[in-house]
Symmetry: C2
Subunit: 338 residues, 2 copies
DNA sequence: CTGAAAGCGCTAACAT
DNA sequence: ATGTTAGCGCTTTCAG
């Protein structure tokens, strides 16, 4: 026999000899209620193991206490750190997190589905869906924060890592070590992060008065395997490169592996720097230098902003910026090759 | 002005000139309804962008189409692969996943909270909460699967990796390479996985007629940092060890790093094998040998089983077993030291 | 301070 | 084949 719910507010009310309403007042610490009855009810609540049904609550209050979190690929270690931070912040505020992966599905579909579940707010890394669709969605669903995507439309709050600046820093770091022939491993996914990091890379080069050449840029999946393939491709095509800037740490780790497979020493023969600053990249040998993003702070900021939007749906939209910084570890060093 | 919901079944009904019930029948493809009206309604649904409110649906049907997934630490790469699999399977079946991290909270509290949100089923790695609490919870909430935890109580379905067998295989692998002084890096968390892997390690040793000694077992956090610390401790305490079995890959990667810091070559001086088979461990240098668990399959199986329990709440409880297997990569090799 | 009535959006069970 | 009534569990009125 399937029961609808163990113990309901009705049960508690009956047990306490009061109306449902009074119980409601007691548990929500609201309205006028005598301390005595409140305590009596609360004791009963505990004793009976009563917990209000959030869905029923949500139907009245329009607050489900759930937020949605949409990431492209949870298996990329960059995301779990953010997820973790969002989760922590959410829990502190009585919120639960609905997480979705979008790699294999329509992003907008996922967002709409999340809405049907009654989420109060949304944090999303939505890069594939086109602007119009996202914008239309944002008009319908207010309290959302979109990460690493840019909009002309002023109806959506964004959080952006300074990708151009970060990529620039990476190149400057390499140039500072004497490198002049610097390749980049990028991804074929046309995301803002991608465009911007490539742009920053080029700006970095021209800032150092180095000529960019198409053969220095190789594209592949933004994964370990992608980094491996792309690095091999680059090093075959341009054996003269002495330094590589990888789109993300995963590709950077793949690139280190590629060098090893090709019999090249890192950083003696080739310097490699990644982007993101994922934990594990700092523990491998050689430890990967990286343009570090504070993911925990990013997650917390994201939640805070959305939480704020939930409380003040009519508040204005804005853009939060985050500056990454270079952390040098072992994979980058002075140029030694002529 | 905050609206309860954009467009409701009522709106569609009005627009179609029928009752709510008819619309309900149309969208759920249920009961008797003339093809004509159905199509007319469905067209309207699409046009108006109507999506049923899942919470309202759930209140009637006791089906929220959400499942809960509880993991100890999403930043351990072992879990995202499982999360990914669960997510994929869930989505294929119209389910959305509520994910929680428990590292910093009371596990039972998290589970209870998930229930208030109306989840239909639950997959959890709950190891800290005591048996009585979990068992009591399982009695109240039927459709749950608990991973890597053992129960005498027959009220809960479990999925277990053969930790003893896996650890045994690891030791046998090392013994097969000629190692006789084999240390283990374990965790201080008293989980079933921990107990079992230590047990398997000891069984492996005695199977090879090697004497176990307390000094060969070091405990620390099951993380990169923990592995680093534990390995240094072990190698200082017992400079004669030629092989290490790490509780998980994270610790294994930390151990490789420790060896490097201590000037030891892997696998020439020390062989290291981990457990889990996380992706990134296969891409570092040297690539980590590991007792590999098929995490994607694990996630899918877990969802399938829970899905089944949701459909048949009165079905019997059982235990699903999974056999891990050794994958040799570069971090283990023949003993060279005398 | 407390209770009764109404309703959130939907579906189950019974009408017709 | 369609509509009506009732109710899921809760909170928001509005009465007292």
């Amino acid at each position: 026999m399937f029961m609808k719910q163990k113990v309901t507010i009705e049960d508690v009310a009956r047990a306490a000899g009061v109306s449902k309403q009074t119980v409601s007042r007691a548990i929500n610490d609201k309205g006028d209620i005598s301390p005595k009855t409140r305590e009596r009810i609360l004791a009963l609540v505990k004793e009976m193991g009563y917990r209000p049904n959030r869905m029923a609550q949500a139907m009245n209050t329009s607050r489900s206490h759930m937020i949605g979190l949409v990431v492209p690929d949870i298996t990329n270690p960059f995301f779990p750190e953010i997820v973790r931070a969002v989760q922590d912040a959410a829990m502190e505020n009585g919120y639960t997190t609905l997480i979705c992966n979008t790699e294999n599905s329509s992003e907008i579909e996922v967002l709409n589905d999340l809405v049907t579940h009654g989420i109060d707010g949304l944090i999303t890394f939505t890069h594939r869906a086109d602007d119009a669709a996202v914008s239309e969605f944002a008009d319908r669903f207010g309290p959302m924060l979109i990460i690493n995507r840019e909009f002309d439309h002023q109806n959506v709050t964004t959080l952006m890592v300074d990708n151009i600046g970060g990529a620039c820093l990476a190149v400057e770091h390499l140039v500072g070590l004497g490198h002049e022939t610097i390749g980049m491993l990028s991804t074929d996914l046309a995301t803002l992060s991608q465009t911007r990091r490539v742009q920053g890379y080029k700006e970095g080069l021209s800032g150092a008065e180095i000529q960019f050449d198409d053969s220095l840029l190789v594209q592949a999946d933004p994964t370990l395997a992608g980094g491996l393939i792309a690095a091999k491709e680059l090093l075959t095509r341009r054996p003269d490169v002495t330094a590589i800037f990888a789109y993300n740490d995963l590709m950077g780790v793949g690139a280190i592996r590629a060098c090893r497979d090709l019999g090249l020493q890192v950083p003696e023969d080739i310097s490699i720097i990644g982007f993101d600053g994922i934990q594990i990249a700092s523990m491998i040998s050689p430890a990967l230098s990286s343009v570090h993003v504070d993911k925990y702070e990013m997650g917390r900021k994201a939640f805070e902003r959305v939480y704020n939007l939930i409380q003040h749906p009519e508040g204005s939209r804005d853009m939060i910026g985050m500056k990454p910084k270079v952390i040098q570890r072992e994979s980058t060093g002075p140029r030694t090759k002529a």
